[in-house]
Symmetry: C2
Subunit: 118 residues, 2 copies
DNA sequence: GATAGTGGCATAGGTATATAGTACACTAAA
DNA sequence: TTTAGTGTACTATATACCTATGCCACTATC
């Protein structure tokens, strides 16, 4: 995985995991890799891996059983909630940025449709 | 100005200045505020203000006359170049993020049109 | 009980960002 | 020449992030 040096790594990995959850590549209730394995998978330090799970737990996305491992929430509602939340953030950012650059809604729609055909 | 703590301040101010340029609020060739004034305006340190102009100069957006001040480039082509560059970055990021969340082009268009009516 | 695998914690060091404060060099105008 | 305003440079400090390393506590299994 390539990292954008202007964004903390732990946030980028968190987003990557959340996307896997949203796309169904990780199922509800499923056990996540151990912190040490995650560290290897994403080429980060074990402390960073631990932080990733800790923050995801704060967001209600996973839970931890000490001595056993870390597991994804079983709540499908929570997962679709996360999806809406992430999508809204992306959309709002896009609209705000484009407005700031002088584009209006029809401009945005037009641009996206043009991109589609390419 | 409110700052997003997850993005370096100097980048956020640079973007703000570039937007003013794109929207015509700053004219080609116009003198920019002094580093000390910029620091006051944006509530940052003088060193950070100096860095902002230094980085903008690296991007060809402004130039400095020592002892006189910092001035915006007179090239209108450069300015429209910057606009295209910024817009393309925003658009590509949007499309990539939304695709990663499982949305396709028609979805995106639909969402934006919905936002417009609100 | 011993072992392996899990999360959790503590210490230390490095880098980037931002701040505070000070000082210096250049330019134009009084 | 003096002054005010400009950019530039330097040191020091603080914080966040990331890494490296080691150790401890819990759980399941042998």
């Amino acid at each position: 995985m390539d990292y954008d040096s202007s964004v903390p790594i732990y946030l980028q990995v968190m987003d990557a995991i959340k996307k896997q959850l949203i796309l169904g590549k990780i199922r509800p209730g499923e056990q996540l890799p151990s912190t040490r394995t995650l560290a290897l998978d994403y080429d980060v330090n074990t402390n960073t891996a631990a932080r990733i799970y800790k923050e995801l737990e704060l967001q209600g996305i996973c839970f931890t059983k000490r001595g056993l491992g870390t597991f994804v929430t079983e709540s499908t509602e929570k997962i679709s909630e996360i999806k809406d939340e992430m999508a809204n953030k992306v959309i709002d950012t896009f609209i705000q940025e484009m407005s700031g650059l002088g584009y209006n809604y029809p401009d945005m729609v037009k641009i996206i449709k043009e991109k589609e055909t390419k």
